[in-house]
């Protein structure tokens, strides 16, 4: 913990720039390529210090919200494909994988989780879109372009690979919102990012747990409610679902990656 704490008010704009530089210097490169021209432009734009809301503040906030919308769409589409409601319908590899699950209760549970999670991502997207327009920005309706090709090419042809991949994407959303929270100025946007981030974190834990059960070859324990099988759940589930007290931020979508002018 190196930042200013206590009664002092830090230089917010300096902090935002530092966070953006950190993203550009590698944090987001893993999955989102280099810092966009728009963000690079923001870094070179003189802005007011001391936390005052400026046009640049709002512009960056809008970019973060647009990118958040694009990430949510990415997940809505991923789960839609697995549910057989995407462009390929029941022919999507993930939809075939889910449909082929032989334990019918496990399959129904999987479908419930996928459906509920997709619905929640729809609500997240709507919240981000409404905030974007409230701040004067253009609503982002498309999936994040930096990730789109990767998601399309991902091997999700088995239930295990599907949930493993979904967990990775959910973690990217979680981490992106964690980093966004250190930069965003608008209070409502901050509240919404935190609220959504909290739910994405739960998605991560659930998908990790489901993946563990599938990996162990125990789909018979994929039931909600678990009921009498509770004693049969492996003790390792906790360490798999939440392996560290404070997980590292692994990869994030930089604010400009899903921005639209």
């Amino acid at each position: 913990m190196t930042g200013v704490v206590g009664d002092a008010v830090g230089d917010r704009e300096s902090d935002r720039r530092a966070a953006l530089r950190a993203i550009g210097e590698g944090l987001g490169v893993v999955v989102a390529g280099c810092v966009s021209g728009t963000v690079a432009g923001l870094l070179s734009t003189p802005v007011a210090a001391g936390g005052a809301t400026t046009r640049t503040d709002a512009a960056l906030d809008i970019q973060m919200l647009q990118t958040a919308s694009s990430l949510e769409t990415l997940l809505v589409d991923l789960y839609g494909a697995a549910l057989g409601t995407g462009p390929l319908g029941a022919n999507a590899s993930s939809a075939k994988a889910v449909a082929a699950m032989t334990d019918t209760v496990a399959r129904d549970t999987m479908v419930k989780i996928l459906g509920e999670t997709q619905a929640q991502h729809r609500e997240h997207r709507l919240a981000f879109q409404n905030l974007t327009t409230a701040l004067g920005g253009k609503q982002q309706n498309d999936p994040n372009p930096k990730y789109l090709s990767g998601v399309a090419a991902a091997d999700v042809g088995s239930p295990l690979r599907l949930v493993d991949y979904a967990a990775v994407l959910e973690k990217i959303l979680t981490d992106t919102y964690v980093v966004d929270l250190t930069m965003v100025e608008n209070v409502k946007a901050k509240e919404t990012l935190a609220s959504v981030m909290a739910v994405e974190a739960q998605h991560v834990a659930v998908l990790r747990a489901v993946g563990a059960l599938l990996r162990d070859g125990t789909p018979q324990f994929l039931r909600i409610p678990i009921g009498a099988d509770l004693p049969n759940l492996p003790a390792t589930l906790a360490a798999i679902a939440f392996p560290r007290a404070i997980e590292e931020v692994a990869a994030v979508a930089e604010p400009g990656s899903g921005a639209v002018a």
């Binding site: 913990m1 704490v5 250190t182 935190a194 739960q202 991560v204 909600i224 509770l230 404070i246």
Partner: protein, 217 residues
Amino acid sequence: MTGVTGGTGRGLTRRRFLGAAAAAAAAATAASTSACGGGGGRGDDASQTTVVTVPPLTGDAAVADLHARLENLAIDTYDALLDTATAGTLGVVPAVVGSVVTTARAQHAEHLAVWNRVLRTAGKPEVDTADAGLTPTLDGLLAQVKDVDGAARLALLVEEILADTYLKSIPTLLDPESVRAAALILVNDQQHQAILRFALGDYPVPEPLQIPDKAAS
């Protein structure tokens, strides 16, 4: 703040911890009313007694103080649940429930260390006691725990209180490093909740948006 000490030294049982807390509170009370004459130490000259008024914490330090008190509350609760389970009161504890409790307890100790580091960096005293406002309520609920389901539900409640508090405080924090810490800890607490709900037979992610309706203040 409800009593502060310089060290951390976790690992106390709940009963021992409460005893230590009482001693710390007594010491803090004594310190706040002690003599502070010009060149003398405490009690050098009662005729020069000055009441020291400690200003209330404000800003990020106040939030860190609250977070630390709640992390202590979580640790105490998990310790008490472990004591109860060890005593056999809960019956046979499923392995997954036991591992959630022990893992979460250890992770809350790490969270506590984060906030005490923030306080130390800000020149403020570390917090080694649970939130005084919530402790009686939690003690009352602990006394009612008779089985594994009750224990898991109490753990879930504590996790919800902490998570909601982080959710509410994040927009108020000024230092980005504190924001980041609070966010990452909130992530972990949310994960605890999801697995506890799964073990309890509930849907693990019940709400599309997290609302801080159980936040402490």
